[in-house]
């Protein structure tokens, strides 16, 4: 990738001279800069472009023609082939499953993390520092360490409507945990709550509001940007997760898009156009979400990054 050879510091152009030569040089630099940055961006997007172009090609075309050629005709049938490729289920089922799991996990995290964050940011109680440190410490624990005991736990939790009679084979293990707090979300929302001026809460307290009322009517509405950030991150993580769905989901109609896609890959080895159509469709919701809410993604990473 080409890194443009332009001054790297952002220390602001202190070029205030107005001579035409200098202005010309400056325009030239600008053009080089834009060209370099866009070229680099396109290079970064090569896998996406390659995915889109392959997904519209005929299967024979993929192996014979030059890789950078545009498709001869647009083979949209790759998408319908992909959608109906597996017996008994469509890709739409996987979508619904992913959507449900990701939404429930997001709701759970929003509620319980903001509650915990309020306690840590606003309330006074003994052991606060130790407890908060303990919660942060769980951030560095690889979650695979708790995989086996959690599997055992869910195996003993009854669920009469599943084949197994317990939670295995249902999507419950994939989102119920979210209703029991989380380190990242608690930390993120707490950082935001700390910036809320305490005189707002003090005034409400003087008026006789209890902590729950203060939480709901002052803190939650003010924290909307932070909550949006947590929501899109949790949604993304749940949507993209592979290992947990792989462990807990047992039959095709319960698969999420990631497991469905991995399964699909095993079934359709070599059929690249259909595979690329599947990959693209599974990525599309997150890409759209990103284009709409980019600043929340950036903010989430920045907050947790800088205050870590």
């Amino acid at each position: 990738m080409s890194a443009p050879s332009v001054s790297v510091s952002s220390s602001g152009d202190s070029w205030s001279a107005h001579s035409p030569r200098r202005r010309l040089a400056r325009t030239g630099r600008r053009v080089t800069l834009y060209a370099g940055l866009v070229a680099g961006g396109l290079a970064m997007m090569i896998p996406f472009l390659w995915m889109v172009s392959t997904s519209l090609k005929a299967r024979s075309e993929v192996f014979s023609s030059a890789p950078f050629s545009f498709p001869t005709g647009l083979h949209w049938e790759n998408y319908s082939n992909m959608w109906f490729a597996l017996p008994g289920v469509t890709f739409g089922t996987f979508f619904q499953n992913s959507l449900f799991i990701a939404s429930m996990a997001t709701i759970g995290q929003l509620i319980t993390c903001s509650m915990a964050a309020y306690a840590f940011a606003v309330l006074e109680f003994r052991g606060k520092r130790i407890l908060f440190a303990l919660i942060l410490a769980t951030l560095i624990i690889p979650f695979q360490v708790v995989l086996v005991p959690n599997f055992v736990l869910y195996r003993y939790l009854p669920f009469p409507w599943s084949d197994s009679g317990n939670w295995i084979g249902t999507n419950l293990p994939l989102w119920v945990w979210a209703f029991f707090g989380g380190a990242f979300g608690t930390f993120l929302i707490r950082q935001f709550f700390l910036t809320v001026p305490s005189d707002l809460a003090d005034a409400a307290r003087v008026d006789g509001a209890n902590p729950w009322q203060i939480f709901i009517s002052i803190y939650v509405p003010l924290a909307r940007p932070a909550l949006a950030t947590l929501a899109i991150f949790q949604f993304m993580w749940s949507w993209n997760d592979l290992l947990d769905p792989l462990i807990y989901l047992r039959d095709l109609p319960s698969y999420t898009t990631t497991v469905g896609l991995a399964f699909f890959q095993g079934q359709y080895i070599g059929n690249w156009p259909v595979m690329m159509a599947g990959a693209l469709v599974s990525l599309l919701p997150m890409i759209i979400l990103f284009l709409v809410a980019q600043r929340y993604f950036v903010r989430g990473i920045t907050i947790s990054g800088l205050k870590g």
Binding site: A3, V8, S9, S10, G12, G36, L37, V38, G40, L42, M44, M45, P47, F48, M51, V62, P67, T112, C113, M115, Y118, A119, F125, K128, L131, L134, T138, I140, I141, P142, Q144, V145, V146, L147, V148, P149, N150, V152, L153, F180, G181, W212, W239, L261, A262, Q265, W272, G278, A279, L280, S282, L283, I287, Q294, F297, V298, I301, G305, L306, G308
Partner: protein
């Protein structure tokens, strides 16, 4: 209202009706308890209420299971019969198990190549993208797009790029290099996976570095420019030192994440094959626990992973004083 009297005895645990989970009450208190003002009394009960879900989750889904993993790792258990205590056998067997040692070696190789590579590239890219020009946010979007993609879908796309007739071999053919087998080649498989992961991991690191770069006051650059410092000197003596907190933080995230690599390996390299060269620690845990139902072995491997991450995190934090400068 949890507190009707407005009076809370500092030493007493909160009322039983408000204690679904005990850890707060048991936390040792050091030093004298501060006197409480009237309106704030009873806050501990409220805190307990707000923290109840978190405390249950911490006990049942984090702390408890970590200890349980340790217990299970000392047994031989297939989940159907009663676990049999075997002492440290699982651990000693693992250290003599070629497949586990391969997984360990691959995980270390992946981590110690992908983390420095990813951080270095991210720093270069962040400095490139740190421009105050019109449309920069649109340009950044192109670079940030891999951020939101699932490793599963991305691995499938890269599998196709790496395939014998894929994009990368086509590109090599242009410069006269004969096709390589990439993920199917035992020596190239891990580097291929690292290249893909690095590409996918770049945006998050770049975003942190960009925020760090934008937090550097321009006066610092002005100051060294007065002293006649060139571009390299400004980078070396202003940018890098002031960015060390961001580098430190990104490093820890990358380190922990790298030890847990799974999705890419699962999709790309079909590590289920007996002689597969790309098995990683987490794949090993998945395979022994959830394919072969050797829960004791899986738990022992998980604890080894935990210890490795803990040790490296600790060492990394220890080095902090030597190179991280907080403003």
């Amino acid at each position: 209202m949890a507190s009707s009297s407005g009076l809370t005895l500092p030493g007493s645990p909160a009322g039983p009706e408000a204690t679904p989970a005990p850890p707060v009450g048991r936390t040792p208190v050091a030093g004298p308890v501060r006197p409480r003002r009237g309106p704030r009394a009873g806050e501990e009960r409220w805190a307990l209420l707000f923290l109840a879900p978190t405390l249950i989750g911490l006990a049942v889904l984090s702390v408890g299971p970590i200890l349980a993993t340790l217990g299970i790792s000392l047994t031989s258990w297939d989940m159907l019969t009663v676990p049999k205590f075997v002492g440290l056998d699982n651990y000693t067997n693992l250290l003599g198990d070629d497949r586990f040692l391969t997984a360990l070696r691959n995980t270390f190789f992946y981590t110690f190549v992908s983390v420095p590579l990813g951080l270095g590239l991210a720093l270069a890219l962040a400095m490139t993208l740190n421009q105050r020009i019109r449309g920069i946010s649109w340009i950044r979007t192109m670079y940030f797009l891999p951020l939101v993609t699932s490793s599963t879908a991305i691995a499938i796309v890269w599998l196709w790029m790496y395939s014998p007739t894929g994009l990368i071999n086509h590109a090599l053919a242009i410069v006269g290099i004969s096709p390589l087998r990439w993920v199917a080649d035992p020596t190239l498989a891990m580097p291929s996976i690292i290249a893909m992961s690095t590409w996918q991991g770049l945006p998050a690191n770049v975003i942190i570095f960009l925020a760090g770069l934008q937090g550097i006051p321009t006066e610092y650059y002005d100051a060294v420019s007065v002293d006649g410092a060139g571009r390299w000197a400004r980078f070396r003596f202003v940018t890098v030192p002031l960015l060390t907190p961001s580098i430190f933080f990104t490093g820890i995230l990358a380190l922990i994440g790298a030890f847990q690599v799974f999705d890419q390996v699962y999709v790309m390299a079909n590590p289920g094959k007996p002689g597969s060269p790309t098995i990683t620690l987490v794949y090993f845990i998945y395979e022994s626990g959830f394919r072969n139902f050797h829960m004791g072995v899986a738990s022992a491997a998980a604890w080894i992973l935990f210890l490795i991450v803990a040790v490296f995190t600790l060492i990394y934090f220890r080095t902090q004083n030597r190179w991280v400068h907080y403003q």
